[in-house]
Each structure stands twice: as structure tokens, then as C-alpha cells.
């Protein structure tokens, strides 16, 4: 394991607006890193500094153990949020062009584009213009164009937007596979469930500053295990349990927040007495709850 990316207290302002303030983070090879935050928090500004579109006003970006240099970008794959393709260009030409731009020869680019398109089941569409394809297909093509030069560091900005569950899981599996091959992956999204499932390390930014960071375990262990998720059939009388601070009741399931010191075991006994329990889970707050709590519930999107 080695540091693929190390941001050393970088800052960036545009005119009066501070986009990023004193942000530091490291991403190790073979790990998936979640960069989270509400819209306008500075995620994209940070990513742009990592890939050299802009330079930080202060602080330093290190890639692959040395100070930022354009040559390092050949080992980086960046998938911007949507629409990162030439609409009028034929899919195969587009993939070959992108591959060449990142240093592949034409023949290698062609061969890799074909094999990825085959794997993603879009080989039939490669002779069409990009604009003729569905949004999900375009996203797959963009995904291929990002990883076909086999970068050691992959940046994914909302990679699953516009994808159906089948394709989402196809891309997720691919990312996990790449991670297991030792690639570092930076994953920027609003989808907390995906982050929770995929990421080893996270950093939550708000108003340009890192407000929460560490491994998923570390972050979560800072919060008490006082969340109960319960799947049941029968009476919901257990919701009157005095130790409940807050509860959301859905058809067949309930999400409960316990008061400090309340016993989850007592709640389980009570519930089992009146209903059939299929699942009972005692957990830390979900990442989504942590997110909302940390950024103060004021989120633009």
C-alpha cells in the first residue's frame, strides 16, 4: 500500500468565493475513497486541482509520490459528471481518440475499446453516433473511456447516474475488481448507500473544508450503536417502548433511534412478544444520517 494521492493543505479561491480551504487527504493504492459533500462544497474544485485543470493557490498536490506533474496524468482516469463525450462522434472513434489522448497507440486503443464494449454488451452500438444512444449507454462508454488506458488512479464523479440497477451493479463490480487489482479509486457522489457499500475511506467536505474524514470504520465508531433496524410482521406495539427517542415506521419495517442508555435487548424482547421478527440489527447511524447531521441538514440537493 502506498499513497497514490496526497493533498497537502490545498486552498483555492475564485474572486471572493473560497472554493477549497486547507484540504488535506491521502488515497492509498488498492482502496476506494469516498469524497462526499453537498453541492458546491468544493468536491469538483478539489478534483480539478488533482487533475491539473486548475492549480491550488496554496498547498501542494502530490501524485504517485511526487509533486504534481502533467506526466503523472497519463496514469489517471477522470470521469466527470455526465456529458463528457463528443455527441456527434461515432462511439468507436471516440474511444480510440480518448485512448490515444492518454497515450495508447491506435491499435492498442482499438483492441481495448472492443474488449470493454464486448464485456459491457454494447459492441453492437459502437458504430453509432454517441448522441443516438441512451443515457445509460453513454455513461458506460464514458466509463470505458476513463479506464481503458489502465490508470492507476481513477476518479469517478457520480459514475452511476442514469444507470439502471443491472448496469449499476455491472459498473460497481468492475470498480471493485479494479480496486482489488491495486488501483486507487476516488469516488465522488451524493449516494450515501453506495459510498457505505463501496468505500474504505471517506472525506466529507462542506463549504470547502474537510469536516469529517477517516476510514469508514473510524468514522462510524465515533457514533454510538443506537440505531435499530427491524423487519417484522404483526403488531407494531413495540414502538411504544419508553427507550425510543425517534422512530420511523414503514410497511413491514421500522427504523428506531434509541435514547442514551436504553437497552436494545429489552426492545427486542418486547417486539418478539407481539410480532414475528425477520431481522433485528443494532448499528451505528447510517452514513446518510451522519452526513445530514454534520452538514446541518441544509443540503441543496
Amino acid at each position: 500500500m502506498s499513497d497514490v494521492v496526497a493533498l497537502d493543505s490545498i486552498s483555492k479561491s475564485y474572486d471572493q468565493k473560497v472554493a477549497v480551504h486547507d484540504l488535506s487527504l491521502t488515497i492509498e493504492s488498492g482502496s476506494m475513497f469516498g469524497l462526499l459533500g453537498p453541492n458546491g462544497a468544493g468536491k469538483t474544485s478539489s478534483i480539478r486541482m488533482i487533475v491539473g485543470i486548475t492549480m491550488p493557490d496554496s498547498g501542494q498536490v502530490n501524485l504517485f509520490g511526487r509533486r504534481f506533474h502533467r506526466d503523472s496524468l497519463k496514469r489517471v482516469g477522470y470521469l466527470p459528471e455526465e456529458r463528457g463525450l463528443y455527441k456527434k462522434m461515432v462511439v468507436m472513434d471516440q474511444l480510440i481518440f480518448m485512448g490515444q489522448l492518454r497515450g495508447l497507440t491506435e491499435s492498442v486503443a482499438t483492441q481495448r475499446a472492443k474488449s470493454w464494449c464486448d464485456r459491457f454488451d454494447i459492441l453492437d452500438s459502437t458504430s453509432k453516433k454517441t448522441e443516438e444512444l441512451s443515457k445509460g449507454m453513454q455513461q458506460k462508454i464514458q466509463f470505458i473511456s476513463t479506464i481503458m488506458h489502465e490508470p492507476d488512479f481513477i476518479i469517478m464523479d457520480e459514475p452511476f447516474s442514469g444507470l439502471d440497477p443491472v448496469n449499476t451493479s455491472l459498473l460497481q463490480d468492475t470498480l471493485v475488481e479494479l480496486k482489488n487489482k491495486g488501483k486507487a479509486i476516488l469516488f465522488s457522489t451524493h449516494r450515501m448507500d453506495q459510498v457505505e457499500k463501496l468505500c474504505d475511506t471517506i472525506c466529507l467536505v462542506n463549504k470547502g473544508e474537510a469536516v469529517l474524514s477517516g476510514t469508514m470504520r473510524e468514522v462510524k465508531s465515533r457514533y454510538p450503536r443506537n440505531r435499530v433496524v427491524l423487519q417484522y410482521e404483526g403488531s407494531n406495539a413495540f414502538l411504544n417502548f419508553p427507550g425510543i427517542a425517534d422512530a420511523k415506521n414503514y410497511p413491514g419495517s421500522a427504523e428506531i433511534k434509541l435514547k442514551p442508555g436504553a437497552s436494545a435487548q429489552d426492545l427486542l424482547h418486547l417486539a418478539a412478544a407481539h410480532a414475528t421478527i425477520y431481522k433485528f440489527e443494532l448499528a451505528e447511524p447510517s452514513l446518510e444520517e451522519i452526513f445530514i447531521e454534520t452538514v446541518g441538514g441544509r443540503i441543496d440537493a
Partner: protein, 416 residues
Amino acid sequence: MRNIFLIAKREFLERVRSKVFRVTTVLVPFGVLLVATGGNLVAKKAGGLSHLAIASNNAALATTMKEQLAASSHPPQSVQIVSPATPQARTQLTNELTAGKLDGFLWITGKPGQTRPDATYYTRNGSDLFSQSLLQNNLGRAALRQALISRGISPPEAQSLVKPIKITTLQLKSGQAVKTNVERSYMGIYALVVLLYGVVLIYGTNMARSIADEKSSRIFEVLLSSAPADNLMMGKLLGVGGSALLQVAIWIAITLAFAGTHLAAQIGVNGLSSLGINLAELVYFVVYFVLGFFLYSAFSAALGSTLNSSQEVQQFAFFIASPLIVSVMLMAYVMSHPNSLASTVLSLFPPFTPIIMYLRICSQTPPWWQIGLSIALLAGAIWGMIWIAARIYRIGILMYGKRPTLPEILRWLKYS
């Protein structure tokens, strides 16, 4: 270098493979040809006073007038002489004119011995100024011939005395008097102006539009994370420029192929020489066209980088080409004072250089150092404009929403 080439190739192929390119490549020369040929035929018809009658009591004057017209640049097909000019004759001529058998008749009156006759021209087309001046010109000469004869000059001598005198124009080029044809040498300049203006308008806005399009998608982020902005700009400029130059080359090839044909000879075009261009001027033509085109394209690129959508480009198309229009307005002055200080300074100002310097070269070759300096300045301006465009592109894309003001753009140039 590799990135510049890749991007240039992509831009070039995207344009050359498009339907618009194929259609305009073929249609534009044929459209121009059609207009030129059609215009010429119409001009011939309109300018041709085909059937004319001349009525006068002075038969000798009428005959001389007929001779004059027959020898003019646009001789009528038939000239009928009516003498004497009686009221009945006038009624009949009026009827023939109304029936369309005549295009007009000239009614000449004058007492015997009067050297300057009075004349009235009857026509259905009151706005045919060309025929009127043709008649006026020749009637004056005919009357003069008659007057000379009546003073004892022999008729052939009288005829030759009234002929217009041809002036040969000699142009001093590097101290040597060279025979030139003023009208023709300016044809070359006008060709440059029209070509440059047209191509800048089409491909300049095309350049601006493609950049504005890239801004409205996120493709620029992918590109910028793979190549520096000035590489992108340079590649774009070369790709778009290459496709424009290819198209112009095809147009010129078609024009040249056509210029040798019989049809061309009919409308007064005869090979390259009819543009009044010699080989040296042709080289300058190409140099200034190419450099001028790239400067204006780089300017369009910078402008396109400040816009948010391709719709906005339309409003700025005129702005891009405005320095060209200013140079056209300056042409009259520079033609008459090709070596004045003002002309020299104007011709060294890069946006004006292509037209003004070429104009100076065609009228009175300026010193070598000025030509060299103008090319160097133009090349420098292109480089500078690409640098500015690249900066605006890189920063401008990060800013969405309202169009930036000029002070904001200047501030962008300072960001890294």
C-alpha cells in the same frame, strides 16, 4: 505535439466528414458561377440596346450616329434611320415602340447649320442609364464629326479625331516600370477580401461554436485532464483551419479549372491572369490569407471561450469580422497613399495586415523589412491570441451562468 496532432485530426475529420462540408464544397463554387454567369447574361441583355431608330431631318448626322453606335462597345443589333422626321413618322415610331418592335428611338432636331442639335430619346425603360449614356456619348461625337467635315476636314480624319485616346498605366515596382491593368490588379485584392471575409465568417463562428459547445458539455474536463489548454487550442485551430483550407483549396481548384473554359471566356475571365495576380503576388496572397485566417480563428476561439452556448455565438459573428470590415473601409486611403506613414502603421497592425499589407504589395511594393515585420507580427499575434484563448478557455469553463464582463476576463488571464 502528439496531443496537438490528435486533437487537430479529430477536429479536421469531424468537419470534413460532415454533410455540410460536402454540400458547401460543391455548392458554393457553382453558386458563385451561376450568379456570375447569370449576372453577366442579364447585364448583356439589359445593357444591349437591341433595336433602335434614329429620326432626324439631317440624314448625314443620323448616318454618322449609326456608324458611331456600330463602332461602340455595345453595338445595337439594328439601327433604323428615319429621315425626314415628320409627325407621321413620329406616330409610327411611337406605335412600334409601344408594340415592342423598338427598344427606343432618338428624335434629333436642329435647324440647318446648327452644330449642336437637340435630341430626345423615347424609351419604355426610363431607368436604362447605360443606353442613355451610350447615346449621349456617341451623339456628341457624331455631331462633332459633322461639324469637322463641314469645316473642310476629310471624313476619315474627322472619324479618327473623335476617337477616345487610350491611356496605358505603368506601375513602378522596385524602380521598374511594369505594365499593369489597374482594374485587374484590384480584382486580386477583392478576391482576397471576399475569401478571407467569407472563410473567417464561416469557420471563425464554427470555431467559436464548437468551443461554446464543449463548454456546455463536460468534455473539456476530460480533455484538460489529458492535455494542457494551449495544446487543445492549437490542435483545434489547426484542425478547424485545415478543414477550412482544404475547402478553399477545392474551391480554388474548381475555379481554376473553370477559368480556362469557353464559358469563362464569355464572361471575361481568362485564367489566373484575369485576376491580375502574378506568381509573387500569389505567394503573398496565400501567406496573408493563411495567417489572417489563423489570427481571426484564434480570436474567435478566445471569444467562444467566454460564451456559454452556441446560440450566443451568432450575436458575435459580426464582431469577429469587424476588423476586416474596417480594413476594407481603409482600402481607398491606402490605395492612394500606399507608402504614407499611416498606411505603413496600419499595414503592420496584425488584424489589418492581411488586407492592407497585401494591398500595399500589389500597388507599390513596400520595403522588404516591412513585409517581413508584418509577417512576424502576424505570427506573434496568432501565438498571443492562442495563449489568451487557452487561458480564457481554462478559466472560463469553470464559471457558469452569466457572460463575463471585460474586467472579469482580464482578471481570468491572471489566474493560473
